[in-house]
Symmetry: C2
Subunit: 310 residues, 2 copies
């Protein structure tokens, strides 16, 4: 398969926007139609199926409109093996809808275990497996030897990773800003080094970084420090960041906009749009579709690219 970096750049180009939709099927927030997921007396497999059904509807909304989706492992794991089966169903459906799949798993472990996680999410244990991801998020806390098995897997399979550098939550400052220079910068430099041998024809690397859009003032610095690293920006929408906050993540050294430089993620803002005052009274599908289109228009306008609005 072509390197993840190039497949990502092509998908962003094709869609004309860098929007990423997080598939976080939080059972407490699901539309009423999927209320069985919350019913503690229903069989677990039935409850799990409801979150899969919901995600498949979101995948259908995303088809042809955005380059990628990002399922969040935790919300599937609440249903154990039944949830894992739905994770696989959702990943396969997203691939079938021509969407790149970034598994938001934030794994991180010693090398022998990291190799097993790379097998689980990127490489597979046999045959062509539609339930594998195109990329996964990883926590770098255990150090370089915890990332290296993934670099090897990315080389072999044309997949990618996004290493957590500075997360979007408030508590990210507790440890990620520790030290002088702060830990996030040290990690950023490692991400650049890890990514050197995984540069695609597009110039971008398959080794990306997660930097919260909620830290707008730092985005320019991270962009400059990791010039060939695709960024994944959580925090837009429900977590508080706006379109104006993310533009620096897309500017190269000369100030030109590089649409493939980052993915802007929204999860709750699209999935649970029916709960927002802005969409009051709409059916959930309409609310979510409108929220998705609004996000695309909002981001492309801020970036000054030709709109891809319908």
């Amino acid at each position: 398969m072509k390197p993840y970096a190039d497949r990502l750049a092509a998908a962003i180009e094709r869609c004309g926007n860098p929007c990423l939709i997080g598939l976080d099927p939080h059972i407490d927030l699901l539309p009423e139609e999927f209320a069985i997921a919350r019913d503690r007396s229903a069989p677990r497999a039935v409850r799990a199926r409801a979150i899969g059904d919901f995600c498949l509807e979101i995948v259908a909304l995303c088809r042809g409109r955005v380059p990628a989706v990002k399922p969040q492992s935790a919300f599937f794991e609440v249903f154990g093996a039944d949830g894992a089966a739905q994770w696989e169903r959702v990943v396969a459906a997203a691939h079938a809808a021509d969407l790149l799949v970034i598994g938001d798993v934030k794994r991180g472990d010693i090398a022998s275990t990291a190799a097993a996680y790379a097998t689980a999410f990127l490489e597979g244990v046999g045959g062509d497996d539609p339930t594998l991801c195109d990329a996964v998020t990883l926590s770098p806390f255990l150090g370089a030897d915890s990332i290296e098995p993934f670099l090897a897997a990315c080389q072999r399979t044309g997949t990618g990773i996004y290493v957590l550098v500075r997360t979007s939550n408030k508590g990210s400052a507790d440890f990620q800003r520790h030290g002088e220079p702060e830990l996030s910068l040290r990690i950023a430099d490692k991400v650049v080094a890890w990514g050197q041998s995984l540069r695609g024809a597009s110039g971008w690397s398959s080794i990306g970084a997660v930097v919260g859009a909620t830290h707008a003032a730092e985005l320019r610095m991270f962009r400059e420090r990791m010039p060939n690293t695709p960024l994944l920006l959580p925090g837009y929408g429900a977590q508080g960041a706006g379109a104006a906050d993310i533009v620096d993540a897309f500017r190269n050294a000369t100030g030109a906009t590089q649409l493939a430089g980052a993915l802007v993620n929204s999860s709750r803002g699209v999935l649970f749009a029916e709960r927002d005052a802005a969409h009051k009274g709409k059916a959930w599908r309409t609310a979510s579709r409108d929220a998705l289109e609004h996000m695309i228009a909002d981001i492309t306008r801020a970036l000054g690219v030709v709109g891809a609005a319908r």
Copy 2:
């Protein structure tokens, strides 16, 4: 349920040793009897079942001999939903064998996602669930707000967590020793603070810390800094640490040995003992049982406690 801290102390007391067996069913290392796990042409469910069968044999060996087992999520996740079903089977079997179960999952995410992980592993989505763990390992990289949902879950359910403070691998120095004071110390102080409100009648907290036994010179310092924190010490055996390296983790300020102060983990050294020269020629079960008994004798001797050897 009683607090994890007290259930752990009672289990260690009952067994007379603080040995923890890691259930890492690495398919490449499984005894020949389970070779179907490696067979890429076999159905995935059959391959996954083989790792479950193997773990159940190890659980049977551990029954009544050690206080706890630690299944490693990654080695189950390689088989997707089929692996998740085996994870549940192994956790339930370990509970049935009166073993505490520490899920080695090293999760770490923003608060809303962390809450879902706490549900997945500690709290469940409904009813009495034998597939839940007594405790899980967590990565603190995302900060305090990524740990807090677990503290609340531990309070509600009498479960525990082990926060990664200083891992056993070589690469742990890359980021965990960053800054002045080094990041690990800062995390250790947070672990103590998080654990204050979760102290059991035994005096120990349900909030533990992972500190690699491979860093023998640092163990005394970590023990002093976290006096009421149960430690989980990976690195004994295959990773290179010996019994003499771990004794400081069990000494209180007066130098007395506190058996409940730590768990010493071995995974490959017991599971795949047939591969060690010391057990050459033995059937795998005999090799693993002998390795388990050797570990128990080795650790109790080093700690100077009355041996629990058979």
